[in-house]
């Protein structure tokens, strides 16, 4: 039902508004006093509500960081939970300002949806989870297996490609939401549950006996996850893009939510530039001079956000791996703030 409503909204918005390309997202957000952020319907570590209804996770913190940069207040975000199928329509129709929902960056999504990816918040890859009792040690032993998958994801296509390339047969059962998929896997409808590997670890926590299940070693795809914004508003695109870069730069410079005030007082030229004592980069973005300070005070630097939500400090305990900084063997790299 929601999908139909969204499509109708989109049709009406596209059909009736004389100038649909809205180049004023920042102004709209400020006037509204609230950032509208599209997230998942519950994926631990990335975006899930706790028992009090507070959203937490890596994707959530990206939105909180943007709200921090604009309002200096992490609470001024309205989180809109979206299924994989509804997410792009919600962005296109203007229901949300930014989509931060473990979404894989692909060329078709970047070029045909009227939206842009602003960066990579998490380098992921698709994996498989099976019951230990099946005694399977490799994805190549999965011939004739039944596979549960969430519909409307890159996962479905990767799966088809992988089994075809390896000349294996399989049966796919596609569900509308993540929870339904996990439930069906748990009920024994399928032998295998597949999604991004981070999602496998996250979903394993939802299963009754997590230790009866294992994630297979194969990673069958590249899944760079990142936020998306609508075409046609370059200022907004820059803000979302540089919010992530600011978090990465802060980690690189050792600026954390605890020491940011002391660091701002130091006479280091790079720190002065980044933390706003020197230059007016924040103002050029349409924000304030101390935008990086605000972001770091709101959510912390990228490393802190990673650790708290998916890394060592979280139940998921995922290694930094590809998501480490470029100078520590990972891929996270921000262009210089100068």
């Amino acid at each position: 039902m929601k999908r139909v409503t969204l499509a109708l909204t989109l049709a009406l918005a596209a059909g009736l508004s004389a100038q649909a390309a809205d180049a004023q997202t920042l102004k709209t957000v400020k006037d509204r006093g609230m950032l509208s952020c599209g997230v998942s319907q519950g994926l631990p570590g990335f975006s899930s509500p706790d028992d009090k209804g507070n959203w937490t996770g890596l994707d959530v913190d990206v939105c909180r960081a943007i709200a921090g940069a604009i309002f200096n207040d992490a609470t001024k975000v309205k989180f809109v939970p979206l299924s994989a199928k509804d997410r792009f329509t919600a962005l296109q129709s203007g229901e949300i300002d930014v989509l931060s929902r473990n979404t894989t960056w692909t060329i078709s999504r970047d070029t045909s949806l009227g939206a842009n990816f602003t960066g990579v918040t998490y380098y992921d890859g698709q994996g498989f989870m099976v019951k230990k009792s099946l005694k399977v040690n490799s994805a190549l032993e999965l011939n004739s297996a039944s596979v549960c998958v969430q519909t409307g994801t890159t996962t479905e296509q990767n799966l088809a490609d992988y089994f075809k390339a390896n000349n294996m047969k399989y049966e796919v059962i596609a569900f509308g939401t993540n929870d339904e998929t996990v439930k069906a896997y748990e009920a024994g409808r399928c032998d295998v549950f597949t999604t991004d590997q981070s999602g496998l670890y996250a979903n394993r926590l939802k299963i009754a006996n997590p230790n009866d299940h294992m994630v297979l070693p194969e990673i069958i795809s590249k899944e760079p996850l990142g936020p998306m914004v609508r075409h046609g508003d370059d200022q907004w695109f820059d803000i979302v893009k540089w919010t992530l870069f600011a978090m990465i730069t802060a980690e690189e410079l050792g600026v954390t939510s605890k020491n940011v005030d002391e660091k701002a007082k130091l006479e280091n030229p790079e720190l002065k530039r980044v933390l706003g004592a020197d230059g007016n980069f924040g103002e050029q973005l349409g924000l304030t001079k101390d935008w990086v300070v605000r972001i770091v005070k709101t959510v912390g630097n990228y490393g802190e956000v990673f650790d708290r939500n998916v890394g060592a400090g979280s139940p998921l305990a995922i290694n930094r791996g590809l998501n480490n900084l470029w100078n520590k063997g990972g891929l996270q790299y921000a262009p210089p703030i100068r």
């Binding site: 059909g15 994989a84 039944s146 799966l159 490609d161 796919v172």
Partner: protein, 401 residues
């Protein structure tokens, strides 16, 4: 000098004036045309504006995507389909899956509905209470929960494929579904089918002849032995002459799953169960209302003619009740078809799931895909209602009403 009969004035122009203009005459016609023109202009503006705006925002538009490769698989296909087929084929696959679950659901819902209605009307206290409880329980629970309940109940009750329940070693039930031997056509298939068709046609002709004899001359002709002979004898004879029409491929456990054989997936079973039991509760009330609308004197008249209760119901009451039953019954059929779109909750690959779901998010072309999906649901519903209208019209006509 011959006199020609005067031609009547042209009726068409007058008709148009009356239909479109009503009492306002030609002025009314002008108003109607102006109104139609404005409507047309507005819809043209909406469509062209939408196109321009989508183009400005670089959102892909148009129906070209239907020729692209889908690149994902579907686990129940009535026609052959692989991941390298087009989105158009996905559309057809999804549509057929929707149709098959709707048709099977409608048949079962009607059967269960009639049975429950007869239970509720039965003089037997226990039967009528059971019918009442069924109706009140089922129709007061949300359908989505019932679908999930059946799905999880079906799954929970069944073992995994390695411990599957074997039915005489030829069919297997597990939480992957029911696997049965699949027929494979042999040399004798064509003559067999031809003879079967001939048998059916001949049986229908016999029935037509017998009914005419009954209604016009009052003669009862017993035809069922001949019908049985035609339906079974002819194909059997063909089999003896040309050999077996088909052999069966037996399913075998290989690795995780059964290979070979045909399979009914648990999603289909759960969805059909939920849809038909749910709709049956409403149909039961419609049928009960219809039967109660027939005057009780009809029942008594049947009894006084010496007909049994069943025969009175079948021959006298139900045909009259059908006039009342058919229109709301059509609504229920339409509801069932539309409700089948809840399939995505349990992973049944219906039209909404594979086309308005997966295809939509693979291509991002929401407007086109949702429009196509709504269009096809509208078409299915209109066709269902047309068929039911024809049926209702025939029922009324045969009663002389």
């Amino acid at each position: 000098m011959s006199t020609e009969a005067r031609k009547p004035p042209p009726q068409i122009a007058l008709k148009i004036r009356r239909i479109l203009g009503g009492k306002a005459g030609w002025n009314g016609v002008a108003v109607q045309f102006a109104f139609a023109a404005i409507l047309g202009w507005i819809s043209y503006e909406i469509v062209s504006n939408a196109r321009a705006n989508l183009e400005n925002q670089h959102i892909a538009a148009g129906f070209g995507f239907l020729r692209n490769n889908a690149g994902f698989d579907v686990n129940q296909t009535l026609i052959s389909y692989t991941g390298s087929d087009t989105f158009l084929r996905v559309f057809v696959v999804g549509l057929l899956n929707t149709l098959v679950v709707s048709v099977v659901g409608i048949v079962f819902a009607t059967l269960i509905g009639f049975i429950v209605a007869l239970c509720r009307l039965s003089p037997n206290w226990l039967l009528s209470r059971v019918g009442e409880i069924y109706v009140e329980l089922i129709r007061n629970l949300p359908l989505l929960f019932q679908i999930l309940f059946w799905y999880l109940a079906v799954l929970a009750a069944l073992p995994n494929p390695r411990q599957s329940i074997s039915l005489f070693g030829i069919a297997f039930i597990s939480n992957r579904g029911l696997v049965v031997p699949s027929p494979i056509g042999e040399r004798g298939l064509e003559p067999f089918l031809a003879m079967l068709a001939l048998g059916i046609v001949a049986a229908l002709v016999l029935r037509f002849y017998a009914r005419r004899a009954l209604f016009q001359e009052g003669r009862m002709i017993r035809i069922w032995p001949y019908v049985l002979g035609l339906l079974f004898g002819l194909p059997l004879a063909a089999m003896l002459v040309f050999g077996l029409p088909f052999t069966f491929e037996l399913p075998q456990l290989k690795g995780f799953n059964f290979a070979g054989g045909a399979r009914i997936i648990p999603e289909f079973v759960a969805l059909t169960l939920a849809l038909s039991t749910y709709t049956a509760a409403f149909i039961a009330e419609i049928v009960r209302a219809g039967i109660l609308s027939v005057h009780s004197g009809q029942m008594e008249a049947g009894a006084s003619l010496g007909l049994s209760r069943g025969a009175t119901l079948r021959l006298i009451v139900v045909p009259q009740a059908m006039r009342v039953i058919v229109p709301p019954l059509t609504n229920q059929y339409l509801n069932l078809t539309k409700n089948s779109s809840l399939a995505v909750a349990i992973g049944y690959p219906d039209l909404v799931s594979v086309f308005a779901g997966t295809s939509l998010s693979q291509t991002g072309q929401a407007i086109e895909i949702i429009a196509m999906t709504m269009g096809i649901y509208l078409l299915i519903s209109l066709l269902t209602s047309a068929v039911m209208s024809v049926y209702g019209w025939r029922v009324s006509r045969s009663l002389g009403a």
